[in-house]
């Protein structure tokens, strides 16, 4: 099993956490995994990208035009990082606007449930998992979130993740 994923957003949206859960899911499945994250200056609200490489890779960076899946926490980032996707790659985007991608209003859903804005990242992840575009299923990811999230955030995190999955089941976003 090999898959290259990019996670694109701005600092503070939880891109690093999303990346981490994908890495933990690969480990739970017993597949070698390499990820890269953005730290420091660029994390201060600036555009950030992190990457996940599942399967037998050596380096942590995904080349331009090689990603199988892109998780976009911010629609504007499609213009910046969309080119990392291969021709047959899938973009999953946090947006209320329809377009040539799998779109879901993750922020709207999170706020509608009374959750913090940052949980939109998990709504998006739940949606991607529900759409079956990831190397792993929703069950594995749910278990990862349950075991690795600090106790006081577990409930809200799973609620956000579940809302994303439900949106995928309902065939929309």
């Amino acid at each position: 099993m090999r898959q290259q994923i990019i996670v694109s957003g701005v600092g503070g949206q939880g891109a690093v956490t999303l990346t981490r859960w994908l890495g933990e899911a690969a480990m739970a499945l017993g597949v070698p995994v390499l990820t890269s994250e953005t730290h420091g200056m660029a994390q201060r609200g600036g555009t950030v990208i992190s990457m996940v490489k599942v399967g037998g890779y050596h380096g942590p960076l995904v080349p331009w035009g090689a990603a199988d899946v892109g998780l976009f926490l911010r629609e504007d980032n499609l213009a910046v990082h969309g080119g990392y996707l291969k021709a047959a790659g899938v973009a999953v985007v946090n947006t209320p606007n329809p377009g040539p991608y799998l779109g879901i209003d993750a922020l709207g859903i999170a706020l509608g449930l009374g959750l913090k804005p940052v949980t939109a990242n998990l709504v998006l992840l739940g949606y991607a998992a529900g759409q079956g575009v990831l190397f792993c299923g929703a069950e594995v990811l749910g278990e990862v979130i349950r075991t690795h999230t600090p106790a006081r955030f577990v409930e809200d995190s799973l609620k956000a993740f579940g809302a994303g999955m439900a949106a995928a089941r309902e065939g929309g976003g």
Partner: protein
């Protein structure tokens, strides 16, 4: 599976230091090295290992503290970023001559790219200049292993050894096994030997000869022969030599180019000293050698120019990160293949900026409003982002903002009048390198305003404690060294403390400080502007105001341009500013910013 974890490269290094029996680890935070010491603390707590771990005041202090432990026969480590090694260069160079008795690992993390640094220099060049063996890990797994072999090598030759990871190793995560902690049970034993530990020039020539002998011996150890991945023989005249993460990406790109296994590939683990028998073999075997390494041509220069192609010959770009895209083009050219499509430049995006509710923002705004014609030297940290608010004109290296402010004063004062000069520095950076600069400025009667932006933490690198707080890296009680007493002891006579959110008061104090600078008894005027970082628990607990933009808004855009807070947005349909409730932190500072008085706040939850 229970013994495997998804570890950040820095976590892998920190964990390995504890597993390897290091009893003292010191560091000063800096991206990409910041997570190493925290991982040492976490691993020591988890395993019960006895380790003294500290966030030292700066890298030179960290180096010398860890060195002394290694001079007592105990295992030691110091961690920093590449520019931190510049600060520690003085003890680093001499430590090679004098050596150690316990294993001493110097972790210097480089930032090719650069992603969060003022240079993209190569610490391996400093290792070469200082004559210290250096290990160049390929991924987090190898970084972890190199901690162990590095400590062994250090002890075998009584030499400091450098581990040089780069951003893509430090901030990559990988599934890794955990190991057992080795306890060496070595009580501190310092053997007096003035000819070595206090070597005067008379002894140094002999120490240098011994160092050269040690390096020559290391360069012949079979362990340091580069890893060989043989090709299928279709290109017998060519080989690729690579080190660090550039080797990892090159291997992935050879697969992408469908050229995996077609050419002989050598992976260098120790770029200095290079394994000498291998150098002779490679130079004797191949007509064309391509060297891939970050950032400087360290291996390339040791192989000698001629048939060797790399950064020095321009075959590989002379600067910047060796990303998969860059390596793809270089490899295709070298192997005579079709290059993959060139990546389009990533256009647009959002630039980094101070967080909504950050106490620094209002202070920068006040400085810029109060002194539109001022000169604003600054420094390294979150507050470098004051550049967006046009209140930061220079950013050089740790502590330089204060020395530069003094320099600007002397430059202008030579011609008579001088403009308002307002230097800004964070609390942690002040402790790191600001104190000598301030003493020097006060002593030489420079006249400028210094604003210490005190958010009571080292925010940019992940909230490490500063010496003002009574807590160590290990969460133990410490002896606090508060700023006001320190500033007075530096000779400062004008000192004011102010709540950073109170813009009218900040402006008044700035004007008062400027009058002091220009008075007959004037000198350096220091203002401590305090507000806890909003990402700390204390900051998160602060009251939130309900902020709104009223009908009075004239749509001038001043708040958006001059205050640059993400909590404010432009409402296109109504032609005026509005609050973005998702990002607004409810600090209420923007109320002071609107020229029409159209921003209101009231007590919220």
């Amino acid at each position: 599976m229970g013994s495997e974890r998804l570890l950040l490269g820095n976590e892998a290094i920190g964990r390995a230091l504890v597993e390897g029996g290091v009893t003292l680890a010191a560091s000063y935070p800096g991206t990409p090295a910041s997570e190493i010491l925290a991982a040492v603390v976490a691993a020591a707590q988890e395993t019960g290992a006895k380790v003294h771990a500290e966030w030292s005041l700066n890298e030179k202090v960290a180096f010398e503290t860890a060195l002394a432990n290694a001079m007592c026969g105990r295992r030691s480590a110091v961690a920093m970023k590449q520019v931190g090694l510049n600060v520690a260069a003085d003890p680093f160079f001499r430590a090679a001559y004098l050596g150690v008795t316990g294993g001493f690992l110097v972790v210097a993390a480089d930032d090719p790219g650069p992603h969060s640094s003022q240079t993209e220099q190569d610490s391996r060049l400093l290792a070469l200049a200082a004559q210290v063996p250096v290990l160049d890990p390929f991924d987090p797994r190898e970084a972890r292993e190199m901690v162990h072999v590095g400590l062994l090598l250090s002890e075998r030759y009584e030499l400091p050894v450098m581990l040089r990871p780069t951003t893509r190793v430090c901030h990559a995560r990988q599934n890794l096994p955990l190991g057992e902690v080795v306890s060496w049970e070595r009580p501190a034993r310092f053997v007096k030997d003035p000819g070595r530990w206090a070597a005067t020039p008379v002894f140094v020539r002999d120490l240098h000869r011994r160092l050269n002998d040690k390096l020559a011996a290391i360069a012949r150890e079979a362990e340091w022969t580069p890893d060989f991945l043989p090709g299928d023989g279709r290109r017998p005249e060519k080989c690729i030599v690579a080190s660090g993460v550039a080797a990892a990406h090159a291997l992935d790109m050879l697969t992408e180019l469908k050229a995996a296994g077609q050419v002989d590939f050598y992976r260098v683990k120790m770029p200095f000293p290079l394994h000498q028998p291998w150098v002779e073999q490679v130079l004797g075997t191949y007509g064309e050698i391509l060297v891939l390494e970050e950032t400087a041509p360290v291996i390339e220069l040791q192989l000698g120019l001629g048939r060797v192609k790399g950064r020095a010959t321009g075959t590989v770009p002379g600067q910047g990160e060796l990303t998969p895209e860059v390596l793809g083009r270089v490899l295709a050219g070298f192997l005579g293949l079709t290059a993959p499509e060139a990546p389009a430049p990533a256009a647009g995006g959002v630039r980094p900026s101070l967080c909504p509710g950050c106490g620094h923002r209002g202070v920068f705004y006040a400085i810029r409003e109060t002194f539109p014609e001022g000169i604003f030297p600054s420094d390294i940290g979150c507050y470098t982002l004051g550049i967006n608010l046009q209140a930061v004109d220079t950013c050089h290296c740790m502590g330089a903002g204060i020395s530069q402010a003094a320099g600007f004063y002397h430059a202008y004062a030579a011609g008579g009048d001088f403009p308002p000069i307002v230097a800004t520095i964070g609390d942690s950076t002040f402790y790191h390198a600001g104190i000598p600069a301030l003493i020097n400025a006060v002593f030489h009667r420079a006249r400028f305003i210094l604003v210490i932006l005190d958010n009571q933490t080292t925010a940019m690198t992940g909230h490490q404690p500063t010496p003002a707080l009574g807590i160590t890296a290990q969460g133990l009680p410490a002896t606090p060294v508060p700023l006001p007493e320190l500033l007075r002891a530096c000779g400062v006579t004008f000192l004011r403390e102010v709540e950073a959110y109170n813009l009218p008061e900040v402006k008044d104090i700035l004007l008062e400080a400027d009058r002091f600078c220009r008075s007959p008894e004037g000198g350096v005027a220091v203002i401590i502007a305090r507000h806890p970082c909003l990402l700390t628990p204390e900051g998160r607990r602060q009251p939130r105001y309900r902020v709104r933009v009223t009908e009075e808004c004239i749509g001038c855009g001043h708040c958006l341009e001059a205050f640059e807070c993400r909590g404010l947005k432009w409402e296109e349909a109504e032609g005026r500013a509005a609050i973005d409730p998702v990002t607004c932190a409810g600090c209420g500072v923007c109320v002071h910013v609107c020229p029409a008085g159209a921003i209101e706040s009231e007590s919220g939850d």
